[in-house]
Assembly symmetry: C2
Homo-oligomer: 369 residues x 2
Amino acid sequence: MSDLELPPSISVCGNTDKAKEILSRIWGKKGVFTCTVGNTMTSTIPGVSDAGDTPDLTLFTPAADAEMLVLGKTVCMKGIPINPGGIPTPATLTMAALQLSNMPLYIVNGGTKIKPNIPCFEVGGTCGGSILSGKAVSNVQECFKMGKILGEMLSKTCDFVVISESCAGGTTTALAVLMAMGVLKENLVSSSSPNNPKELKTKIVNDALAAAGIKIGDLAKDPLKAIECVGDPMMPANVGILIGAAKNVPVIVGGGTQMAAVMAATVALDKSVLNNMIQGTTRWLVNDPNSDMRRIVDSVHPDIPIAYVNMDYSESPYEGLQAYEWGYIKEGVGCGGSSVAAIVQSAGNITCADLLDRVHSIYRKLLDI
Amino acid sequence: MSDLELPPSISVCGNTDKAKEILSRIWGKKGVFTCTVGNTMTSTIPGVSDAGDTPDLTLFTPAADAEMLVLGKTVCMKGIPINPGGIPTPATLTMAALQLSNMPLYIVNGGTKIKPNIPCFEVGGTCGGSILSGKAVSNVQECFKMGKILGEMLSKTCDFVVISESCAGGTTTALAVLMAMGVLKENLVSSSSPNNPKELKTKIVNDALAAAGIKIGDLAKDPLKAIECVGDPMMPANVGILIGAAKNVPVIVGGGTQMAAVMAATVALDKSVLNNMIQGTTRWLVNDPNSDMRRIVDSVHPDIPIAYVNMDYSESPYEGLQAYEWGYIKEGVGCGGSSVAAIVQSAGNITCADLLDRVHSIYRKLLDI
């Protein structure tokens, strides 16, 4: 079935043959969705993260996202996470995909300052420090090991696993890890704002690498050390889950540049993962003129297949959603991965139109309009 | 299909019509197994618990049991949990049932001093104090609430949920909660030893109730308060999971007297659970001459159905297992519930003979014989 005909709701890029081959293996099969939340104090550096109305509120965003997915509402804060300007968290799309597909959903606490008020899988992580310290994440080996066990556990319960993240400030830590590993030599990473503060991020990453005494590429073969120095606590758990799950089943890596750092670390540790790994993301990110996600993924490994959901909010009656078409948000909370997974699991019966309808009803309910 | 013909591997008692009705609804369907681990300092009172080679080692038993289920071996201690005399933990039977049925398995950390070295669902609990303090469990409301969310989450992923426990000292805390609630007026509870230290347990429970200022039956309508005063941290999580899951699917309550306390608290909080609840246990416990599990369950509610697995270790070549026939262990770590679940999920294709074979190979591997 490598002659799989994709419905218009998803497209593939990267290694398209491999993308179709992996998708054909899980087409109509049962997935499990995970989202690993983490906090890094890096997100509170003014200007770094727009994933929250103020720098301090960015720390609440992962917990709030997780609560939305599990409870359908937030508990740790009032309202829902928004970018300055009122653009809603991509968790709205993830909720839609999970509701329509009825996929089992588990939250993993990679390490947080603000814990979600829901039962999470704990892996032994704590809130990450600012990467400017050069010692950003503690207990990395343990979290990686626990993640690996969790990935194996989950892979025994389903035909494929989706991994994803909510970690504000995570594109900056991703850039730092990718540069520490030498996967990137320059800043190609994305942002949740079209006014991607590239200079600021580049300066922070250079300072972080200097603080850790790392030159670009020094840690190509020691990705867990790179994460320990300049990463965030979402990473070790997700690297572990990916390695553990991909031993047994395909894994949809849901996300953009943050998950590219996870893939880079994973591939450096265990190349065999490439047989069972496909990135799942959004049309918004693949087509983002301000980043170059495909070049980044290509730098991780030229063989990585990508599937993306063709969501289009341009006809949405809500400006907060239309903003996704203007370069805001684009990815996060596994919105692309869960959408791809919903389409795959339903063998194409769930469409972008279905997802859009559900996003609208979720949006209205959450904003009480 | 209420004319369900039970295979010889399981029998029913209590409300047998209801037992068959519930079993027929889940016959051949897919279950999820959970084990909630907890520590109570009550287990370290000399003489209270035999679930460990020494009083202090009883604190390691829940973590070791959980590690065995997930990893197939222990990490927190050398060897496996044994009663004095070398009788192996019932987790050996649980492992056999989970391996043969390939059922998804999750460990919930109700509150422990020794944490299992695996990813657990956290619900906000901490190690329980000695019930002699009269303030045995903290954060009960929160753990109950998290348990409820978890139960709902899990119920969406399967056709039935199995809940169980590993908490040394738990028959004493169960007796205390059952007496605080007035479900029991005297000590009918079981023990992992045929020399059930009834006088000691009765004295401890009376002292605990006095320390908490509770007379028998005072907390009939406030089971969470009873748990807070004289229970253990396995309880609030499991009460929550039971209520949350039973809203949507049948729940097999795997265990004996400890889980009777969980059922008592649950029924006091939400009678509707009775429509979706069946105890799953072992022939050893149902036939234990030193306890009266059926009378206890009848006191909880006369309408509770019971299914039990007809395991028989009398022909086992291993004395450690034969001891189960002499009144040792009998229940724990959901060995009865998981066995019943394995038989149910396989529509009777898994038999006691299959389980015994697998227990033997697990036993040989663990003891390296």
